[in-house]
Symmetry: C3
Subunit: 353 residues, 3 copies
């Protein structure tokens, strides 16, 4: 009575041509810090001009983590023998050696870095100049919007985490009471549009909130607009509009730490017809509570999948985005690049909510 | 100087056609509980009529453990998306889905359950109607007997645990002082009888207790009768009679949790010519002490066997049951079924005690 | 973005013909103790005459660790069934058995033991009479010298630990401030001499300490003599002389516990023109601090090497001994035995210090 043989697989994907958030701008200050992306240990530090740099976190000399070292004039000095590396990974000093320090075998592989909107992004492949820029978070630079940021370490593949972030049916159960109620009276329509590098679900016919909440959020009335989107390599975006005045975007920037561990950098950006200083004390703990509930269930899912040796999922038509996300991820892993914005597939689904 | 190459093997056996205790009746109440048998995670719950049910502990939808869920009218509701399963594993509700919930791919494998003598037994193979019933504990239903129950989690294979439970020579050492003394004066005879599905050792010539203990336990005198028995799949039974009045049976119901972990449900059933309420305060802590000493030594044995990559046992003729138990277990694993009660082999051994 | 493929290897070496320190004389008293050498669990105990004995730490009967047992008249009694073994591993008693206890299959493999200079040495191969004797610590038996001993458990291969113990360039960084300063003004010469079973680096031209330290350590003046030596199987020796009066030897006796774990028995032996009782309160904490710093960096190195699946070292000419030590270890592992004292190779290196 071993567990029944599993026909499944693991939704583990490793991408070479991709930007991931390595840390927040605030985490990277005067000292080098260690991060792991897709199983690769990296050391991040700022050069003399304050620009972020990322090297493989292993001294080429005796394989000690460079992140144990110290910064000297914007160069990283290994804690064991004092070898020094600049932001490009070139060795600049070897204490005790009579000849020159530089040498091809003495380089530490380096990874392209971009600091943008409060995050330090690192490119997945070493010693490469990326052709594209990292994702830009919608409305985060717009002064009319308020932005709240949190980060969560989740035991799950990037695919599992993003499917969860964009999944509507689980909200009534896992977050029961906070969102939709368990009684499902409304039948709505979902339009799913897949493109070369992203997929989007549009929910048509969701009822506007009633009572006090409705009067506050949409004083002039109006219809609900709701989009859930996945963008390669690992961005989940939930967008709500209610009339002209209410607009809310939840962006989840997901970084695969290892095959079954994901850092989720959550950004909530909103503009609402209520003073934002009044909302934040309520909205932030609720959002944190939701992310934690999701993190807990994802950890249980991951443990079960690993225990059984693979995923054995049964999907129905209301699992609108999960299978599409995996398809895009596997396509990116194979290195395929369809034109990003050409629609590849559109279909419609009915769902009770 | 790696550990010397081991010629050994692991006494790990996995049985498809077998009943195992999953939990006590008292452990299974209003909420689903998780148990593992032979490495397979199971969820147990009671249906609307209070009957125990067991399903594979993995939602077929997104592979979350069903044991995280809640009971609704005797059906088990997954905590993630609210899929509901009845006691046969059939899916009865999928919140949000417009069509019917039932569907072959949406079933959770189910395992036959029987509640009997205070234990919930589960059959090892899913979606099967067993031809036989679980073991019945001797005298546990007889009103003249007192029954004491305990459970122990032991780090050892079922074979190692049962060999220990039925092993006479270790008692003088491991439980020194409680049982036989280290000075071995008596030479007794052991008759070992193997049958199709069990093996028994009868100890002939064991001296009756002397002094006060003898007068209390057998006021009219009488000889000691002592049997140790192993019954497939995993039952150990030690039976003592002293004259007409004293009768004691220790039954160990062993459940393989995983290859090297066994739950031992111990049942001591006895009828003695002393008020039972007087005995229990003494007998129970002594029995618990013995089981704990055994659990400790078994954990050390298991760690050593795993460290060396296999068992490398040297047996003597006074290891009367261990090799016979393994032979029966391996035969059962191969699916062989000799007639249960026909004697297959009888031999005699002399032992000092 | 898995870690970049590593061209490396692990510097793990297992030697059959080698003596290793198993414990200090003081650790082995009235009770058996458990030790692991090169992955092999051993039990050590003293026989009736107080001589140390070592057996494989596994009872041949039911594979329980013999180190759980007790000593009876210089014989080791297993805690499970009471089988008794003498110092040669022969079984001398089996409680309950009517016939004789002795028997070939009932032996526990035994390992040659020698107690010398406060340490119990064990030979790596069982049931063998070694042709050679263990290493003798220089000057430890000379009454004019003071000896201080410590032990450290280090997460690293024997090779990594010994390279570290004999490495000069790291001292200015890892132990910065204690030893040489980071400013490297002096250019010195190193002569490296490899022999059949050892390798030595002699440092020529190291400046004598100036100021008070110089006047105290070498009141009559004199030159610094400094040798670093590795002796097979696993001995590191650092020797300093300053004039006629100051002489210091640091011997590191390294025992491979498992592939990536090493016990380092450190012995500092010295004769200095200052009262030794005055020095010890200063010297001991400094030496302990240095060994701990090394242990910390070695643990980080080992974790990184294992994480990347192998060592990928880049050496320069000032890594004078590391590659030579590995060459000797691998040669010993292959069973090759060049004449021990014939010089095999000599070369010279310049180094700033």
């Amino acid at each position: 009575m071993a567990p029944p043989a599993t026909r499944g697989h693991f939704s583990v994907v490793r991408l070479a041509d991709a930007w991931f958030v390595a840390c927040t701008s605030g985490e990277l200050r005067q000292r080098p810090i260690a991060r792991v992306i897709q199983g690769t240990p990296l050391v991040l530090f700022r050069d003399r001009d304050g620009r972020p740099c990322a090297l493989l976190d292993r001294c080429p000399h005796r394989n000690v983590p460079l992140s144990l070292g110290a910064l000297r004039d914007g160069q990283l000095e290994c804690a064991y023998h004092g070898w020094r590396f600049d932001g490009t990974g070139t060795c600049r000093a070897i204490p005790g050696l009579c000849g020159p320090a530089e040498g091809k075998g003495r380089r530490a592989p380096s990874y392209a870095c971009i600091e943008q909107q409060g995050y330090v992004w690192v490119y997945a492949s070493p010693d490469t100049t990326p052709a594209r820029a990292p994702w830009r978070i919608a409305c985060a630079d717009d002064a009319r919007y308020t932005t709240v940021r949190r980060m969560f370490r989740v035991a799950g593949t990037v695919h599992a985490v993003i499917e969860n972030a964009l999944d509507v049916p689980h909200t009534a159960f896992l977050h029961g009471g906070l969102f939709r109620t368990a009684e499902k009276k409304n039948e709505i329509e979902v339009v799913v549009r897949r493109f070369g590098d992203h997929v989007e679900a549009e929910y048509l016919g969701e009822p506007a909130p009633r009572g006090l909440a409705g009067r506050v959020l949409a004083p002039k009335g109006g219809v609900v607009q709701h989009f859930d989107r996945f963008h390669l390599p690992s961005i989940a975006e939930v967008e709500y509009r209610l009339g002209d005045d209410s607009h809310l975007i939840v962006t989840s920037l997901c970084t695969p730490v290892s095959d079954f561990e994901t850092m989720l950098y959550a950004v909530v950006t909103f503009r609402l017809p209520v003073p934002h200083w009044l909302l934040c004390p309520f909205l932030t703990p609720v959002a944190t509570h939701i992310f934690r509930q999701d993190a807990r269930i994802l950890a249980q899912q991951t443990a079960t999948v690993r225990r059984f040796g693979g995923e054995q999922y049964v999907s129905t038509e209301i699992d609108v985005l999960g299978p599409q996300i995996l398809r895009l991820l596997l396509q990116a892993q194979r290195g395929e690049r369809p034109p990003p914005d050409a629609p590849v597939d559109v279909h419609r689904v009915r769902m009770r909510t």
